[in-house]
Symmetry: C2
Subunit: 416 residues, 2 copies
Amino acid sequence: MGNYVIVSSDCHAGPPADRYREYMDPQYRDRYDEFLAGLAAMTDERAAHVNNAQQMFREKFLAKTGDGGNQASWDPDLRERELDHDGIAGEVIFPDADVLGIGGVTSTPFGTGLGASGLDDPDLAMAGARAHNRWLADLCAASPDRRGGVATVPIIHDVAAGVAEIERAHDSGVWAGIMIPTQWSPHPSYNDPVYDPVWATCQERGLAVTVHSGGSPRDIVVGPGTLPIYSTEAWFFAARPLWSLIWGGVFERFPDLTFSVTEDGAWWVPGLLARMDEQWEGFHATLKFGTIFRETLPEKPSSYYERNCFVATGMNDHELARRDEIGVDQIAWGNDFPHPEGTWPHTRDWLRIKFHDIAEDETRKMLGLNALRCFKNFDAAKLDAVAQRIGPSPAEIHDQPVPPNPDLALAGEGTH
Amino acid sequence: MGNYVIVSSDCHAGPPADRYREYMDPQYRDRYDEFLAGLAAMTDERAAHVNNAQQMFREKFLAKTGDGGNQASWDPDLRERELDHDGIAGEVIFPDADVLGIGGVTSTPFGTGLGASGLDDPDLAMAGARAHNRWLADLCAASPDRRGGVATVPIIHDVAAGVAEIERAHDSGVWAGIMIPTQWSPHPSYNDPVYDPVWATCQERGLAVTVHSGGSPRDIVVGPGTLPIYSTEAWFFAARPLWSLIWGGVFERFPDLTFSVTEDGAWWVPGLLARMDEQWEGFHATLKFGTIFRETLPEKPSSYYERNCFVATGMNDHELARRDEIGVDQIAWGNDFPHPEGTWPHTRDWLRIKFHDIAEDETRKMLGLNALRCFKNFDAAKLDAVAQRIGPSPAEIHDQPVPPNPDLALAGEGTH
């Protein structure tokens, strides 16, 4: 078996926002210049509201990483070196790297990245997605075996146009999967069969469908507690498509489709699935609904979760302790590179801290094998060859003394 | 100590919809007649889509209860007899009893009950609320020590009008608390200090603020899985005000205010509070935000939960097993009378099944004492007198053989 074949199912990449201009369809470039001006103003506005503890964190993160990961967000060679250093053989690449915008300014054109929403302008949303996907194809082409790009595709505005962009992006070398918006309203939710052409295309091409946390309805006022409330709720708004797809029967109609809920934690999985199964099985409180929970599902909801779904997350201690309930076969570890809440550039230390006392077979699944089942277009043999060169050995993870928390120094005064 | 003083923190009452007419401000009666016509059409529409298993359930529920609880929803004397029979000394009364509308047709005027939303017409919402609250005052007046009415108050449209209705309803004898909408958008969320006059009035008068499950955004299309998706999500949309109030600092500003999340389960409480505390304490993934989680809260979120908040729920087995994590001091049992998913008319059997192996002091808290802390205007001495007459003794709950599930017979073919 040799070294661990590590795949991070949650990485981010993106260039400085103005570099998207050349990837943009010409007719949208004027609008993009306006967008850039607005982005700059928003960045200045946020910079003016950084508190002392945030500023201290930024300085320490910069000191730790050099430029805070910005250049590795787009520079193909530097990115390769950083992944080598961290022992990561393959990565699944989402948009909105935007590291120095700590606190929320994302830079995917026209906001079509993690915060994509049904309220976006349909034409601009698709133009922005195409620009990002074209840029991403170039980045991935520089290391095609290791870089699994996730195409940003706002399928909600126009399903046929979405399918066309999925095919175009895949044909251009973005082969890991697609990311769909977590905020679909006022368009149909994902249980609607109107999206079947999307699922069919992804199933046929081995592309995973993914969601990533970030979006939320804008119904919490700016005032006391706004960010903490968002932070408490974000997992739910990213995870909603999971049960919409399951209850909608999508995995019954597309049994080979895979789906990943990215950077969304996993603490909620066991309880939520247990409630779903309970409803499907029928119990006192749901009997009044009759057979309605079984109409779309021949099997219980957790069966589809176990067959088709993955949670791509960094795995906190409390989640690793419950890994049997969350699913040792469903957990696809991700390190959120290059975001500051991830493990870069201390991934090897973090892996030793988190996985040192977990059996090798379980570790192999969570750190890589599950990702290969979710993102089917990875070439396992090629990744294995990389891993034998750069990846940590089981002995490195399990047999050495557990290192101290490498990021404790990031905790500045005022945060504890 | 004697018999258990049992308070159900989740009951429902309401008359046939046309009886609200006389309680309606005269200028809204024409509009109410239109509303009634629409309600009748919707009821017919739903009746046409009842499946066989639902029909079988309804027939068995009717056979079990006589008229399915309808008359007990509004008849003062019958209601008293049914509560006596079930051993319940006091009750907290929400709207939308509407038992035969199994599956979702509620009948509070202009839909201002459990499904109240920011999209409702402001004038009609308040007119409907006033009509229900007036009717409720009459019901409660017939048994004022045992019936703790919860006034339906759509505070979101006009805060001052909301405060006026809270005061009017309380002065008229609706003394347990108020129910606020769980769907506030496009109005401000509850972390906004604009609602401080509401919290101040409730704190001063000893009225609990409550939310009850039922509402949800209308962003799931009608199609495969619609009801199961709703059923999976409903807890979240009802619970959102809990963390909006905590993070918004409301319990810091109003330390004697009590808040109850009603009929919303409790499985999610430990995980969610642990995440909130984790964010407040600061850990690797939130350091980038600096001190923002502490700006509004001198104490960690779970401190406010333990001091000010309650979960009013029927307590499934899996929740009772985790009662220490959910909070033996926070659980206020409710039986959802007269809804078919509740325990009526077999509450005494259910209590023996669920609580037989739980210590008496914990049972006393969950079945009544916590409710008295949440709904402060109950007179404990008067309830105790009732309980000594009708309530189960500890010996009845803990020392007798556990009975068979009294509602197994409701599970018809096709549901198992």
